[in-house]
């Protein structure tokens, strides 16, 4: 397994070298944390170098966007990322992310490149592409953009014992996606899902398509496992600030600590980011796929419990 990991990392670097994409490194310990209400960073609080607590990055996204605003070059990074409370057969709180940015690409162009990289690492797989909406229509017979929360909840409750769970529209969409749709993708090889509800756009730009607001975000599932998440990146600093503030509002409602906004990222957006798309891909999961193992602990030298 150690050799398989080393070979995979070498292959990834060769893939980017052949395309003239620059490898970069950015700090793991960051001054600002992520505002996303469903991602919790680990916080480092003590040390004589610390004026205030710093956050272990949950992804290198903000720092890489600052580099993009400076240089406008295509860049990639193989980075450790940390997410508190995420542990299981497909999650380790510390994991390896491959993140890259392509100036001049929209999300469709980037999806094509992601597929090439994945093929180069794990071999041929059939390739499918669906909009989020089409997938819900095909598998569940409902439109995720127009169905009411009650309708989403009713479908979930017919198939899954959800006990006392209650929540908003996105909670039910996430539950349907992870419990009923993902398993259906297991036999379909590589599946790109794109054009998410605007409420799940995160850092992607939002556009009106056929009368509904969709986020230009995509996810890649391989053999039913979520492998990568990408955006046709939002460039508007004011809108980004607004979304961060909305996140913090939501965090307050959920009783979670608010996060300081990343002023440096917002300044970089104000300065101007080139039109670009970016994607983050789980390297440990890629290794699981290339070696055919089902538990992430088997591809790590030392998993969280033994770190």
């Amino acid at each position: 397994m150690l050799r398989a990991r080393a070979a995979l990392l070498a292959r990834i670097r060769a893939f980017f070298a052949s395309r003239d994409i620059l490898e970069v490194e950015t700090p793991l310990l960051c001054g600002a944390g992520i505002t996303d209400p469903s991602i919790e960073p680990l916080v480092v609080e003590r040390g004589s170098s610390l004026k205030r607590p710093r956050y272990l990055q949950t992804s290198p996204e903000y720092a890489m966007k600052r580099l993009l605003a400076c240089h406008g070059l295509p860049i990639f990074q193989l980075a450790r990322a940390f997410r508190d409370g995420e542990a299981g057969a497909r999650h380790n709180p510390e994991f390896t992310l491959l993140e890259w940015y392509r100036p001049g690409f929209d999300h469709h162009a980037l999806m094509a490149e992601v597929a090439e990289l994945v093929r180069c690492c794990i071999g041929e797989r059939p390739l499918h592409s669906y909009t989020y909406r089409q997938l819900f229509l095909d598998i569940l017979g409902m439109d995720p953009f127009t169905a009411t929360v009650d309708e989403l909840q009713a479908v979930a409750r017919t198939h899954v014992d959800t006990g006392t769970i209650s929540g908003d529209r996105d909670l039910w969409l996430d539950l349907l996606m992870s419990h009923l749709i993902e398993p259906q993708l297991a036999e379909r090889g590589m599946c790109f899902v794109y054009d998410y509800p605007a409420s799940q756009a995160a850092l992607a730009r939002i556009e009106n398509i056929d009368g509904v607001a969709v986020g230009h975000r995509f996810e890649l599932y391989v053999d039913g496992m979520e492998l990568a998440n990408g955006y046709f990146e939002l460039l508007d600093a004011a809108e980004q600030r607004e979304r961060f503030e909305q996140d913090n509002l939501r965090r307050r409602e959920l009783g979670l600590p608010e996060r300081p906004l990343d002023g440096r990222l917002l300044a970089a957006l104000e300065h101007g980011l080139p039109e670009c798309s970016g994607v983050a891909l789980g390297v440990d999961r890629l290794l699981m796929l290339s070696t055919g193992v089902a538990d992430i602990r088997e591809v790590l030298a030392f998993d969280w419990a033994r770190a």
């Binding site: 996303d36 995420e86 299981g88 014992d161 929540g167 996105d170 996430d174 539950l175 983050a280 789980g282």
Partner: protein, 189 residues
């Protein structure tokens, strides 16, 4: 009892769900990179034995259930209750028919049984994996018959009926696997 969050759910943990004691069998963490986290949990209801899967929001908590397994000696039955004794303290517990359930077929006095106590009361009883019981009723054995050949039903001292080889006679002791209900061998007296 303490409360346990979905992060603490491990196989074997006993919790109270919808007022019933349950044992956790599996706990799968499910989270899309940009979405909300859930735990898909397989549980066994310790009262009914029913196994099913329920989804929780990650971070939800359940109250722990005061459930312990003890090895106890089976003493006797008065027809309504079955009595078990803790070997160290000689403390006796009475189990009702619901708790004894299928173990009824295999209970022999003085045998060690696994008794599951919920709030100090027997919830279920598991007999030893192998028990030795007397055949009280079966067709006469065939002379000269060896290990090969067919089987016939035999009624045991507990009332259970098992299939035994043709050479087994009434009054003999046989060894039975209580998990499958299958005859193992004849026990020499």
């Amino acid at each position: 009892m303490a409360n346990y969050s979905t992060n603490d759910f491990r196989s074997g943990l006993k919790v109270i769900l919808d007022g019933e004691p349950c044992s956790i069998l599996e706990n799968e963490f499910v989270k899309p990179g940009k979405g909300q986290a859930f735990n898909r949990v397989r549980l066994r209801n310790l009262k009914t034995g029913r196994v099913w899967e329920r989804t929780f929001r990650s971070g939800e908590t359940l109250e722990g259930a005061d459930v312990v397994d003890r090895t106890m000696e089976y003493l006797y039955t008065d027809g309504e209750f079955w009595y078990f004794m803790e070997p160290d303290t000689f403390e006796q517990h009475q189990a009702d028919e619901k708790a004894v359930a299928d173990a009824l077929n295999w209970l022999k006095e003085q045998d060690p049984c696994e008794v599951t106590l919920y709030n100090g009361v027997p919830l279920s009883v598991a007999p030893p994996n192998f028990v030795e019981l007397e055949v009280v009723e079966t067709d006469p054995g065939l002379k000269g018959d060896t290990a090969q050949g067919g089987t016939k039903p035999a009624k045991l001292s507990t009332g259970a009926v098992v299939k035994v080889p043709l050479f087994i006679n009434q009054g003999e002791i046989i060894r039975v696997d209580t998990r499958s209900g299958e005859y193992q061998n004849r026990v020499s007296k």
